[in-house]
């Protein structure tokens, strides 16, 4: 409803003090368009704002229910015993429904990863920034292109041209630091948050 509606009753039953003032300011001839401009509009806008907040607070639960539930969030850490992993071996563990690659790298692999000129990389990251202990590389085994699991964990798997992992879906190749070197993926394999609880026990998440 517009405040200029000629049929709207004047607030306060026509005893409005600013009647005269309003008319002289905006040139409206209807006496009823008086102080509705301030009080009625204020009520209208606050009511509208409250309705919007109300509607939003009703909609939010219906949207937020789609986000991860408490039990899904509760599964967000996992502990791994590394004592049985030999140099050159890899293990895959499940974390948050995704595979995590843990590789005990050989001296050659560590050297290859460290020797790369960082400025030539697509996603510029030094090997040192991606590991806590150079021997242990821990990355999420999900290709950053469209989410496939790259090959290279098992002996005999294709490892791509850079001694790391190769994604069979769209041909992305990662190096021995899990960095993207070739193919359509935009980013390096993600490094999860993890901490070594002891020399052979790591907690992911």
């Amino acid at each position: 409803m517009s405040s200029h509606d000629p049929h709207s009753p004047c607030c306060g039953g026509g005893s409005c003090a600013s009647d005269q003032e309003n008319q002289s300011h905006n040139g409206h001839s209807e006496p009823s368009s008086c102080c509705g401009e301030s009080r009625r509009d204020f009520l209208f806008m606050t009511a509208g704002a409250m309705a919007a907040v109300g509607a939003g607070s009703v909609v939010w639960p219906f949207v937020h229910q789609m986000n991860p539930a408490a039990d899904t969030l509760a599964m967000s850490t996992t502990e791994v015993d590394l004592s049985s992993v030999e140099v050159g071996q890899s293990v895959t563990v499940m974390w948050r429904g995704k595979p995590v690659f843990i590789r005990r790298r050989t001296v050659k692999e560590i050297q290859e990863a460290a020797d790369v000129d960082v400025s030539t990389l697509r996603d510029k990251q030094a090997d040192a920034d991606r590991v806590k202990a150079p021997e242990w590389l821990i990355v999420i085994g999900v290709c950053t292109h469209l989410g496939c699991v790259p090959l290279g964990q098992k002996t005999g798997d294709m490892r791509g041209d850079y001694d790391g992992w190769f994604c069979p879906c769209h041909g992305s190749a990662y190096d021995s630091s899990g960095r993207i070197r070739k193919g359509p993926a935009p980013k390096n394999l993600e490094v999860p948050t993890y901490s070594f609880l002891s020399d052979t026990l790591v907690r992911i998440g």
Binding site: V63, M66, N67, P68, A69, T72, S76, T92, M94, R96, G97, K98, P99, V142, H145, L146, G147, C148, V149, P150, C167, P168, C169, H170, G171, P184, A185, P186
Partner: protein
């Protein structure tokens, strides 16, 4: 649909209902005496066929839902139980599975019909837009349905498709998490996909209602693309087109039945009979055949777009592919405005006809390379340069968009149409001279 002047019915019960709710008057007006151009060819069957498929999918889907369990622990087994133990479960599932393919067959031919005969043009733009909306809803429904059996292709298809959203900067990751309800595709994802897969077909029914309503306001287009002018140009919908549509549906169902009974898995992928395994990606992920052209467009973008001579990337290859893929459908929405040529039918527009048929070939090529692994070498151009399937997809993608954004606007201005007959009646009676070389 309002009351208005009404002719009374002879049957007393019909008349009792109709005088209170003029349902029978409406049916007679819209499907009985409804004036329909008399020159329809068989391409005009596919609307009715698509409608038939929609009903088939809903009926078979509801019956399947009575036996299916949307839980990652038992979803695969419940589908196998439908196949082995439920009475006629195998038939219901094969009807539903192949029905999706045949629904898309009907709709793709229906869309081609609209493009070839200019059915999207003024005054049918909104009718066309509703059609594109139906197509989008069908794609979403089909994708979510394919996830439900929880096989390897289901799982990895869902993973790849929901990963599209991570391509969008800033909000992408949270949008993806919101959609799948976790950190990876899992039980919450399966549950919501089932809920939506059950819901969306009914939304499609609603939009189909609007589509048909809009059709009954403007009336049907026809192969000549000329509006009916006199009674001579039209026939009542019943019995002429009820009969012709029934015949078309019958022929279509025969082919559909051959697939259901003799080659039910020909259009599917064997990997989807392996239970979903989040730790192993199948060697070659492909979507269902009806998504392949769009999948090829997605994969065609292999370079980042940035500011030249700097390291700044504005659109990553991944985002570029996703935008182009969505754009390839969105561009259909504006087709009525990209092509402003006054003549509708390709019959009288030889240049438009050539580029449109080439467009069809290109879409088929995209479908072919979309089903192949990326970067398959085809032949050597020079010693070091190899022509691959990705190059084919790139060239085809360029034409796909050029057809809409360059060819249509230019042809609208420069193409001189052949003489158009004065009326539908004339186009039929003088067929020899005016529609040579046409279907």
């Amino acid at each position: 649909m309002s009351a208005g002047p009404r002719k009374p019915f002879e049957n007393k019960i019909v008349e009792w209902v109709d005088s209170r709710l003029p349902l029978f008057t409406m049916l007679d007006k819209e499907y009985g005496v409804f004036p329909t151009p008399k020159n329809f060819n068989y391409f005009w069957n596919f609307g009715a066929i698509a409608m038939f498929m929609l009903v088939t999918m809903i009926v078979s889907g509801i019956t399947l839902a009575m036996h299916y369990a949307a839980n990652t622990g038992i979803a695969f087994d419940s589908v196998e139980r439908i196949m082995r133990d439920v009475n006629y479960g195998w038939l219901l599932r094969y009807i539903h599975m192949n029905g999706a393919s045949f629904f898309f067959v009907a709709v793709y031919i229906h869309i081609f019909r609209g493009m070839y005969y200019g059915s999207y043009k003024q005054p049918r733009e909104l009718l066309w837009i509703f059609g594109v909306v139906i197509f989008l809803l069908m794609m979403a429904t089909a994708f979510m349905g394919y996830v439900l059996p929880w096989g390897q292709m289901s799982y990895w298809g869902a993973t790849v498709i929901t990963n599209f959203f991570t391509a969008f900067p800033l909000v992408g990751e949270s949008v993806q998490t919101l959609l799948i309800g976790g950190f990876s595709v899992d039980n919450p994802t399966l549950n919501r996909f089932f809920a939506l897969h059950y819901l969306l077909p009914f939304v499609i029914v609603g939009v189909v209602f609007l589509h048909v309503w809009a059709l009954h306001v403007t009336g049907s287009n026809n192969p000549s693309g000329i509006e009916p002018k006199t009674k001579e140009d039209t026939l009542p919908f019943h019995p002429y087109y009820t009969m012709k549509d029934s015949f078309g549906i019958l022929v279509f169902v025969i082919i559909y039945a051959i697939f259901i009974f003799f080659m039910p898995n020909a259009l599917g992928h064997p990997d989807n009979y392996i239970p979903a395994n989040p730790m192993v990606t199948p060697a070659h992920i492909v979507p269902e055949w009806y998504f392949l052209p769009f999948y090829a467009i997605l994969r065609a973008v292999t370079i980042d777009i940035g500011i030249p001579f700097t390291e700044v990337t504005i659109i990553t290859a991944k985002l570029g592919g996703v935008l182009l893929m969505f754009g390839s459908i969105a561009v259909l929405l504006v087709m009525p405005w990209l092509d402003s040529h006054p003549v509708r039918s390709a019959r009288y527009r030889p240049k438009f006809k050539f580029f449109l048929l080439l467009f069809v070939v290109i879409v088929l090529v995209l479908g072919k390379v979309g089903g192949m692994p990326a970067d398959v070498p085809l032949f050597h151009i020079t010693e070091n340069m190899i022509f691959t399937t990705t190059h084919v997809a790139q060239i085809a993608t360029v034409y796909y968009f050029a057809f809409f954004l360059v060819v249509l606007p230019i042809l609208s201005r420069v193409e001189k149409a052949l003489p158009v007959p004065a009326s539908i009646h004339e186009s039929v009676t003088n067929c020899k001279s005016s529609c040579e070389g046409n279907a």
